[in-house]
């Protein structure tokens, strides 16, 4: 009897641990870590570059909402850790001015790296006041750039979600997992197989497109044939999301990872904006893909058919469009570009099994803002969401930046329930 009581309490505490686990599960056993705080607040989004003593890049990370960062390393030894001062809050500086540390990692240990932050020009530099206005705009430009980057990533994912909704009526809660899938596939080919990131990414995108096709061919398509209702399908997609998420957790683990290439890049400055070259390239790719998909929707036969199906499947079907084929193409393309979004997200942040889940609500926000089911609405909505999230950190703590975007979503729907570019429905 006593034993049962013990087992029960053990189960309960296990459950609590399990439910709170995601935060702790990320602990790697050997590496570097640290926490940045400034005036008692954690500092989010600061870039930390880790290299070996000889300068070989190991990883580049940014601090999270709790101000913490960590980099797992394979070998014990001395490492060089550089804090990118350009990414610090505008009024913060590293105490002592030295932004490089050379800590030693011991076998099986986490080594903590300290960067103490203090207000900029703390020992009496009145010139800072005059520069205040200028640095606000500099920071705004920097944040707008980052917001655009985030917005483009969201747009990639949102486009597929929106078209799938438009053509099949499915609000797909598993779309975030398609984003994660792309990142993890690329990681598998990149780090697991050892390919360079670029071919790995290409393979991942193609594979994800194939899986998107298969998902519709063998799963969603079959459900549609059975006449499954849209709400039932929505809840089924939650089941799919749970399933995929925990499959990722089992195979990928709960830790943060980075791709093998392009992790530690020195930033370059263009005007007020400073970013690693990879970010510019990533944005270029994102823009290019979005333009290609947009043009394809407007100009190609399949694209027009897709928009026709999204507008009115029955009418499209009766005018000779093969609705099933169109839907399958959309699923394939949606899966592929969601995967691309995941790879881009993994490039600018870190890879994690919940990365798609974390961005899903922002994707929904983008799609809903634009109007469910409209392809170009999703683009506009996503860019607004991305920009809003980053720019809002000018005024709100970074940890609450998503709150603003989600609140705006609710407020927009209050005044324009059909979204920005959506159409009102007819009753009766």
């Amino acid at each position: 009897m006593r034993r049962a009581v013990i087992a029960f309490t053990a189960f309960l505490s296990g459950l609590v641990l399990l439910l709170t686990a995601p935060a702790q599960a990320a602990t790697a056993d050997q590496g570097l870590r640290g926490t940045l705080t400034f005036q008692g607040q954690p500092v989010n989004g600061v870039k930390i570059v880790v290299t070996t003593e000889s300068g070989q890049p190991v990883a580049q990370v940014t601090t999270n909402a709790q101000g913490t960062w960590q980099v797992p390393v394979e070998k014990a030894g001395r490492y060089k850790v550089t804090l990118d001062v350009a990414t610090l809050p505008k009024n913060a500086a590293v105490r002592g001015g030295n932004n490089v540390r050379t800590p030693t990692v011991y076998e099986g240990n986490m080594s903590t790296v300290l960067f103490a932050l203090q207000p900029k020009g703390a020992p009496g530099q009145p010139a800072e006041e005059a520069g205040g206005e200028g640095s606000f705009w500099t920071q705004a430009a920097q944040l707008a750039f980052e917001g655009l980057n985030l917005g483009l990533i969201i747009a990639l994912a949102a486009l597929g979600l929106s078209l799938i909704y438009g053509t099949t009526g499915l609000t797909n809660f598993a779309h975030g997992e398609l984003v994660t899938l792309g990142a993890i596939l690329a990681y598998a080919f990149n780090v697991g197989v050892g390919l360079h990131l670029i071919p790995a990414a290409v393979i991942a995108v193609i594979l994800a497109g194939g899986l998107g096709y298969a998902q519709d061919r063998f799963f969603w398509g079959a459900l549609r044939k059975r006449g499954t209702g849209t709400i039932a399908m929505m809840i089924i997609s939650i089941g799919v999301a749970l399933f995929l998420r925990y499959v990722f957790l089992i195979f990928f683990g709960g830790q943060n990872e980075a791709f093998a290439q392009y992790t530690a890049q020195p930033g370059i400055e263009i005007g007020p904006i400073s970013a690693a070259p990879k970010n510019f390239v990533a944005m270029g790719i994102e823009l290019l893909v979005l333009i290609v998909v947009g043009v394809a929707l407007l100009r190609t036969r399949t694209g027009k058919a897709a928009r026709a199906v999204a507008d009115n499947p029955a009418l499209a079907s009766s005018s000779g469009i093969n609705v099933d084929r169109v839907i399958r193409i959309i699923w394939t393309m949606g899966g592929a570009i969601a995967a691309l979004a995941g790879i881009m997200l993994g490039l600018s942040q870190n890879l994690k099994y919940t990365m798609g889940q974390d961005i899903l609500l922002l994707i929904f926000a983008g799609v809903t803002l634009g109007g469910l089911g409209t392809a170009f609405g999703a683009l506009v909505g996503s860019l607004i969401v991305g920009l809003f999230i980053q720019l809002s950190t000018l005024w709100v703590p970074p940890e609450l930046k998503s709150v603003g975007a989600l609140a705006v979503l609710i407020i927009v729907l209050l005044f324009r329930p059909q979204g920005i570019l959506g159409r009102r429905e007819r009753i009766g």
């Binding site: 036969r301 027009k304 026709a308 009115n312 499209a316 000779g320 007819r426 009766g428």
Partner: protein, 318 residues
Amino acid sequence: MHADSTTNPVTATTERKAAALAAFKDLARDPGVPKPDPILVVDKVVRRFGGLTAVEVEHVEIQRGSITALIGPNGAGKTTFFNQLTGFDTADAGEWTFKGRPMNGVPAHKVARAGMVRTFQLTKALSRLTVMENMRLGAQQQKGESFFRALLPNLWRGQEDEITERAEDLLTRFKLAAKRDDFAGALSGGQRKLLEMARALMVQPELVMLDEPMAGVNPALTQSLLGHVKDLREQGMTVLFVEHDMDMVRDISDWVIVMAQGAVIAEGPPDTIMSDPRVIDAYLGAHHDAPLSETELQEQLHEAEAELEAEIEEETQK
């Protein structure tokens, strides 16, 4: 099974019908002509969707105690007009009164409570409720519909029995009594139409607005439905209905209002209205059967179709 209904559906002129016809006798055939005793008066109602004006009705009156038909080619804005009047959609401009009471901006449920009840073109039977529950729902001012009183059955049971009794009478009249405990979703299309009409009567309305009551009903049932519509007038209700089938319009209506491209273009008695040149123009002048609000979609589809055809031609030429 058979209730001793007050009238035989196919009777010739009854007293009420005679009264209605007398009211219309000397009226001009102009759109918006004033009626001797209007129950509903509509002024300058406008509804736009983007650049498209779906409804632009200058003035129209509905005579109390009559059956008025609202006809017009597809896309004329009849259903949209219904939606404005019943509070299901907000008009961009205009005002209308029901029994002298201004009704613009009044939400749909208050419109119904005021005595103006509508049905829908696509029948809205509440599928997973039984036929009887559907009927009971129509009754107004139910004590058991308030949250706290609902928890104490004794407070509402008596009223529920009265409602049930009234519902049973109506079901018998509409020949649905045998189905009272079936799920509404299990009824045939025509039976659903009957149920929807019977349910609307549970509200005890003064004006019944039927949106295409005959659409999708098999011919065997249409006569009985027609009879029920005529019955409504015999019981002192006013009926306004949208219909496409001109035979039926001629059979049951006392007065016809014609809409085209959102506006009322003509009014008149059913036997002569179709010879009115304005009406002929409207029907023959309409380019296609598609709802106008979807022109854009049509264009897209045509484009897609044209390309598909081009492609097929290319392939066949190979």
